[in-house]
Amino acid sequence: MHHDVTRDEPGTHVNLLGNLGIVRGALEAGVDFFSCYPGTPSSEIGDTFAMISKSQGIEFEYSVNEKIAVEIAFAASLTGARSMCSMKHLGLNYANDPVSTMPYVGVEGGMVIVSAGDPSAITSPNEQDQRHFSKMLFYPMFDPSSPEEARRMTRFAFELSEKSRLPVIMRPTTRVCHSSGAVTLGGRPSQKRKIHYEKNPERHVPIPANARRMRKELTERFRLAEALLEESEFFPQKGEGRFGIIASGIGYIYADAAIEKLGLRDQVVLQKIGAYPVPQKVLSRFLEQVEKVLVVEELTPFVEEEVMVCAFRDRRDVKVSGKKSGDLPYEYEYSPMIVEDAVRKWLDLPDREKRVVKPLELPPRPPVLCAGCPHRTSYYFAKKVFGKKTTYCNDIGCYTLGYGKPLDVCDVLLCMGSSISQASGIFRMTRERTVAFIGDSTFFHSGLPALANAVQAGDDITLVVLDNDVTAMTGFQPSISTVGKEHQKQFEGFSIENAARGLGVKEVFSVDPFDEEATLIAFKTAKKGKGVNVVVTHSPCVVHQAKVAPVREKKSYQVDEARCNQCSLCVRVLGCPAIWVEDGAYSIDQDLCDGCDLCARVCNRGAIHAVQREDGGRGDGEPKTNTNDICGNRRPRGPDRRAPSV
């Protein structure tokens, strides 16, 4: 798909994901700089830039966290470059410190922040409505409904940003990020922009005296942005009639489909809201035409309140329906059915014909740690040593799947990097040694300050860093500890062990979690220790290994039926998806088994044996080059030799 994104054939229709529509829009705007921290549903944006940046002459980085991604991109804009950075909705919270002052300072080259929303919290611990950032911090914000619109809006966003000197936010939601459709390629600039940093401290330094001046200018610039939006193509109307539906994002697509399906084009005007702040004139013009209004938008009643304020200001007696009236839900993603039902009710049409599908009990298929995942092994040994009573604070990543039975190593969780601070808080009150788990990427994202804090306080916590060499959850992006070729540069990878020592941790252990003896000794010593200690369990992600370095021959394990007494221990303690029970008989799925041997160690009866296979199991037999050719050059499994074990 990525070669379609870079094509220089204006007018051609290509099938692109919403996220790639954003990439294309940025290329058409001549983006010079891109940074991101991966996060579903935004990850494909960064991964695409990782693949194309070199050929397109774009400076690119996977940043250590979103705050850094934003700061770097903003500084790049101060040199006159057009810059973009992407993240998920929660990343914008993390970056909110610089984000809140950037509009005061203002950009030089256009800057667009992509912050992808996740209604229904499909891959997130919350759903939130970033549109409020627009009002709170003076950000023009775009809310695309389709990949083509994502392209057009992104392209326009850079222009708007430069004209108003405001950074701009693109806020697609999961449904738009991950839908594909026709994108009409526009032209791309033939020349690179001139890059030059011109010193201007009065303009670039928001000390209080300057900030107060900037505050006044900010009001003017935000007004200018509203005026530019008012003339833009992102507030179209469709149909005519005395009833009005006003809709944004994917809600617009559902409302449009409902109007079409119910044959209401000559009764209902559909007003699209494609950006914020919603220009007052757009709302006034719309309210002039209609007797009553239904507002269709996901998350909070953001537009709905704007409509009510406009109706009051214009003294129009228009009934506004939406979330506040109880016609549409506040929570979760909308669907075509939810919107169609609301439209029917709003217009007193008969109910949708409900089809009765007989209920059928089907087992759910929740995500699970993969067979052979080194996190499972780390968890199993940690729990063996620290026991059931210890409080386990967990963090954000694949390893959050340690939640629930049978591993049960996630008692508390909050956000990126919170495991360490939460362990501190729980220790401080209970005075019992508390365990925190964190992944390599999250450790560097926001774990470091929390670790320094815990060391300074002398908290009795054991931090287990689950180091699998990549940011696995979001698609195997490199983390800062990744060894390998990144951005076409050979990168040694930061040592987690040395980072911990540098922050004053006295006891640092470095083990291969599949080395049972060393791992148990490390955990046992850590349990008896004083203050903060750190155990780094290093073993590469098995799924990523299968992609980049598949092996032709490998082991897998089988159950010896004659020896197995169906004690169920392997299932009860490991939760490995490769172990299967049917009619009391235990077996191992040969396609899934990665040959990690943990089940063979757990089995008391010695009923699980290795078998040699030639097909190479999960690997393709041919290495794939992933996003950035990363990790082609791997650190061997096991303790980090650059940081000898204590």
């Binding site: 229709h13 099938n15 449904r175 075509p336 699970v368």
Partner: protein, 205 residues
């Protein structure tokens, strides 16, 4: 049309190939995907809407075709079907890991994989056009399970619903398949085509 399965079965890839092909042939096409954490064994769903407006999400009862790469996932998607829908189901099971847990923590009964026949019957209550085949076995016989998506694609395009479009669509799609796997993909696709044609014949003779 809707494609469903589990992570790693090639659902997203085949849906992307097919929607790209439709677009190259000048159709209006939008598609959507649901894959929360599919890499870790979860459910995957991909929908393709051809000349049916701009909405990438298919409403209940409005899918013309459902191609299920796995029995439970096929049955899970049955709310999208209507009495005219075509359903093609791969009968090879991919065990949801919760079943083993239920088996040891609850009762052996609660940990049993639901009866494939029972799930087929529940689909047949909605539409008579339900076809089941062991696509995984066909793919493996053709060399590798990785070809399952090509087998399933063959069953869809080989069905009587796609008589007019098959050659054109496959022509465009096969060009997009990397040359090193084009031949095996072609064989797998044709296995799917002949299977569905046989199944349709059996049903209506």
């Amino acid at each position: 049309m809707i494609f469903v399965g589990t992570g790693g079965q090639g659902v997203l890839t085949v849906a992307r190939l097919l929607s790209d092909a439709y677009m190259k042939l000048g159709y209006e096409v939008v598609s959507g995907q649901l894959h929360g954490m599919a890499q870790r064994g979860g459910s995957v769903q991909s929908s393709i809407c051809v000349n049916a407006g701009a909405c990438p999400v298919i409403a209940e009862g409005e899918s013309n075709c459902l191609v299920g790469f796995e029995p439970i996932e096929t049955a899970r998607a049955r709310s999208f079907l209507n009495s005219k829908s075509l359903v093609i189901m791969n009968t090879a099971k991919v065990n949801p890991f919760v079943l083993a847990q239920r088996h040891v923590q609850g009762s052996p009964e609660s940990g049993r994989y639901p009866s494939v026949e029972g799930m087929m019957e529940s689909l047949e209550e909605i539409t008579p056009r339900v076809y089941a085949l062991d696509g995984s076995k066909l793919a493996e016989e053709n060399g590798t399970l990785k070809n399952l998506n090509m087998v399933m694609l063959g069953t869809l395009l080989g069905s009587s619903d796609f008589v007019k479009e098959m050659d054109q669509l496959w022509g465009v799609m096969s060009e997009a398949i990397p040359s090193r796997i084009r031949e095996s993909s072609m064989r797998a696709f044709l296995l799917g085509v002949s299977s569905i044609q046989r199944l349709e014949k059996e049903k209506y003779l």
